[in-house]
Each structure stands twice: as structure tokens, then as C-alpha cells.
């Protein structure tokens, strides 16, 4: 019975998931062996085709849950904010790779815009820093269940979208990142007043491990929906998916 359940998963998903866990320092050596063992056991006698229908059903319910969350999402409902004294230190690092593999981004970085945006001029970091800035102390909630409070500062994303003439009647905003991460969000969340194009963490220039040069911070969404090291922002009417979302994490990912 149990064996059957375990077969339900797509072997690729586990390997991906495992390689994420591997990213955590200290577990890597052990993990490499566990991964190959796990991969081996997955290959032996798995009737993956039988379980595809269950997976399809779960995926379509997950799509249904996207819709339910969009309905539940109140564009004026603010996430709770906290005093400085409640900030979690050190704020945890989390990515699908180890902290030593955080991308290094040099000074001549520019942010590209594409898709349904009127003014697609590139943005330098200096130009972004010159825009009106705001900050918030909110709770970051990870899909794994842990949470941490941090202080992020930057440009209100709705301001930015309006400034560059983004078509805000479009459905999706997509992000491509320097660490090959990618994700996308619904327009309603993009326009939420607490959605910030953050350039600072704890009043300092955003450190590399938290997403230098910029991270999109949404206290209304789970951690994996908050892209770091953003290099391109685009607006679209077709759902661009995302790194984790394409593997089975819920696309809407609200919190």
C-alpha cells in the first residue's frame, strides 16, 4: 500500500526536491549518496504510467485552488507588520542551491523589461534607487512551514509598473533571475500596496544572499513566489509558470 503511494510521484520531482535539500551545506556529501540511492530505487519497478491519472487529478485541483485563492485575495487587505524588535536575526538564507553558489552580479547590471509594457527602456540600479522608496517589516512564510520577520525597502511595485506603462489589465507578471530561477504572479498581487521591488534589507543594500540587486517581496505570497536577483520583468496574458510551480508547487502560492 505504502509502496504504491510512493510510486505516485514523478521521479523527476523527487530528484529535483532532493537536489534542493542537497543545497544545504553539511548535508551535501550525505545527500549525494542518498540521491543516487533514491534515484536507483525509483527506477526499479515503478509503474509511473498507472499513477499519472492521480497526478493529473491533483494538478487540476491545484489549478482549481489557484482560482479559489484569487477569489479569496483581497487587494486592500494588508499583511500584518511588526516592530523592529521582532525582526528575525539572522534572517535565514533559502534557495534551491547552497549559499556559496549565490550569483555575483556586477555594477553594470541593468533590469530588462519586456512584454506588454509601453516603455521597455532598461533600468540601472542608480535609476531605481532614485525612485521614491518605502519600507516594510513583514513576515516571510516559507512553503515548508517556517517563517521569519524581516525589513525590506524599495520601490512600490505598482508605482513602478505604472511608471513604465505596464498594461495592468494583463493577467500575469513574470520574472527571470540571474540564478536561473523564474516565477510569475497574478496582476492583482503585483498591484498590492505591500508588493515591493526591494533594493535593501535591514536598511542596507540588499546583500547577495538575500537577492542583490533586487528581490520582489510580497508578504501576501509564500517565499518561492518572491524572486531574487531579478534580471527581467515582463507582462503577459499567458501564464509563464515558474521553477517550483512547474514541478508541482501551487502556482498562486498565497499566504
Amino acid at each position: 500500500m505504502m509502496k504504491k503511494r510512493i510510486q505516485l510521484l514523478d521521479e523527476q520531482l523527487i530528484i529535483k526536491d532532493a537536489s534542493k535539500a542537497l543545497g544545504m551545506p553539511g548535508r551535501r556529501l550525505f545527500g549525494k549518496r542518498a540521491l543516487s540511492l533514491g534515484a536507483l530505487s525509483m527506477l526499479s519497478g515503478c509503474g509511473l504510467t498507472n499513477e499519472n491519472s492521480v497526478e493529473k487529478m491533483l494538478m487540476s485541483i491545484s489549478r482549481f485552488n489557484d482560482g479559489a485563492q484569487a477569489l479569496l485575495f483581497d487587494p486592500t487587505q494588508l499583511a500584518q507588520t511588526y516592530p523592529e524588535s521582532m525582526i528575525t536575526t539572522p534572517f535565514p538564507f533559502n534557495a534551491f542551491y547552497a549559499e556559496s553558489e549565490v550569483p555575483e552580479i556586477d555594477e553594470d547590471y541593468t533590469l530588462e523589461l519586456s512584454g506588454m509594457i509601453a516603455n521597455k527602456d532598461e533600468w540601472t540600479l542608480a535609476a531605481l534607487t532614485a525612485l521614491p522608496q518605502t519600507s516594510q517589516i513583514t513576515r516571510h512564510i516559507c512553503v515548508e512551514g517556517w517563517s521569519a520577520i524581516g525589513k525590506w525597502g524599495g520601490v512600490m511595485f505598482s508605482d513602478f509598473l505604472h511608471r513604465v506603462g505596464a498594461d495592468t489589465t494583463a493577467k500575469f507578471v513574470g520574472f527571470r533571475c540571474a540564478d536561473d530561477y523564474f516565477t510569475s504572479i497574478d496582476m492583482a498581487t503585483a498591484l498590492h500596496p505591500q508588493t515591493l521591488l526591494t533594493l535593501t534589507y535591514a536598511d542596507q543594500v540588499l546583500p547577495a544572499k538575500y537577492g542583490y540587486p533586487m528581490k520582489l517581496r510580497m508578504p501576501t505570497k509564500l517565499g518561492y513566489k518572491n524572486p531574487k536577483h531579478i534580471t527581467e520583468i515582463f507582462v503577459s496574458n499567458t501564464n509563464p509558470g515558474g521553477y517550483w510551480e512547474d514541478q508541482g508547487y501551487n502556482w498562486f502560492g498565497g499566504s
Binding site: 485541483i61 487587505q77 500584518q80 512564510i141 516559507c142 512551514g145 508547487y249 501551487n250
Partner: protein
């Protein structure tokens, strides 16, 4: 004689109660097992659940199971409670309930003297166990809503005393349900005729 004949044609458990019970059992087992896998991704306490007794294979799969079964669990639960209230079954089956009677029935049960000749009547232990587990399941839903969408339910969030505490409430309500289920299954094994009534209605 006549009145007895009438009584036996009326099922001990109405069909809607039997159906909602079994749907609930399926939903609860899926939610508990996938919930254990989700717990393992970031344990609250100093232990993890054995991987073999969890459902979903990895965090993403477990979440998909959890948030698929929640619809069955919630809709079915609303049906069960609504029909119990509207049909007056709560009053008929679960009333009266009192502490003295409860303690007496526990004593009888421990001595193996608790009578089960009339399966259409619940003793005090049954009444309290079923009502308490129903309450625990409601607490699971309320705390679960906070863990799922803490921003969209600010009132529930403060009722649960914050996100992290909602996880703890969610955990203990789960633990209560699991302990109930273990005892529930032992009781069913001790009085197997009750299982028959849960399938056939009599």
C-alpha cells in the same frame, strides 16, 4: 410487538450519516498522512514522522494531497453538521450529556461492564468522544485556514495568536484526532456489530 417492528425498520444510522462518516474517514486519513509529510519539511518539535507513513512523496506532492482532500473534508463536514442540526439528530442522539454520567460510563467501560445491547443509543463516552472529535476537526479547519492564508483571515489570525501558534494549534488538534481514531478503532474491534450498522444502517 408492533412498535418493535416499526423501530427495526428505521435504520440506527441514517444513510447520510453513514456516507458522510466514510467520506470523512477517507479525507481525514489523507489529510493526516500528507500533513505529516508537510510537517517533516519544517518540524515544530524535535522529531519527524517516519517517511513510510506519510503521503505525497515530497513536500509539493504532500501539499497537493492536503489541499485536494481539504475540499472533501470541509464540504462533507458542513453537510454532516448541518444535517445533524436541521434534522434534530444532535438533540436526539447526543442529548442529554453530563459529567456524572460520563464518569459512570467510563468506570463501567473500564470494568468491561458497559452494555451495548441497544446500538441506537450512544453512551456518555461515545457522545463525548464524537462531539469532541467533531470540535477538534473544526479547530483543525480554523487553524488550517490561518496556516494556509494568514493574510486573508486577520480575525482568525489573532484568534490563533499568530501564524506560528496556529501551526501548534493545528498540530495538537491533529494529535487529538489521531488518538481518537486509535481508540475509536479499538472500540469498533471490541464491538464489531457497530461496524455492521455503519455499513447497513442497522
Amino acid at each position: 410487538m408492533n412498535s418493535l417492528a416499526v423501530e427495526t425498520t428505521k435504520p440506527i444510522h441514517p444513510a447520510w450519516m453513514r456516507i458522510t462518516h466514510w467520506l470523512n474517514a477517507i479525507a481525514v486519513v489523507i489529510m493526516v498522512m500528507s500533513g505529516w509529510k508537510i510537517y517533516n519539511a519544517s518540524p515544530i518539535f524535535d522529531f519527524k514522522f517516519l517517511g513510510a507513513i506519510t503521503l505525497g512523496g515530497w513536500l509539493g506532492g504532500a501539499i497537493q494531497w492536503h489541499f485536494a482532500a481539504m475540499w472533501l473534508f470541509a464540504v462533507n463536514g458542513v453537510f454532516y453538521i448541518t444535517l445533524n442540526i436541521l434534522g434534530g439528530r444532535y438533540r436526539a442522539k447526543f442529548w442529554p450529556i453530563n459529567v456524572g454520567g460520563f464518569l459512570n460510563d467510563v468506570k463501567q467501560a473500564l470494568g468491561g461492564r458497559l452494555a451495548h445491547d441497544d446500538l441506537s443509543k450512544y453512551n456518555m463516552v461515545q457522545k463525548s468522544a464524537y462531539l469532541l472529535v467533531t470540535l477538534a476537526l473544526m479547530i483543525l479547519i480554523l487553524s488550517g485556514l490561518v496556516v494556509w492564508k494568514s493574510v486573508q483571515f486577520p480575525l482568525l489570525l489573532s484568534l490563533m495568536n499568530g501564524y506560528d501558534n496556529a501551526r501548534i494549534v493545528h498540530f495538537w488538534a491533529m494529535a487529538f484526532v489521531v488518538i481518537f481514531l486509535a481508540i475509536h478503532l479499538v472500540m469498533v474491534a471490541l464491538v464489531p456489530r457497530t461496524l455492521l450498522t455503519m455499513f447497513r444502517g442497522r
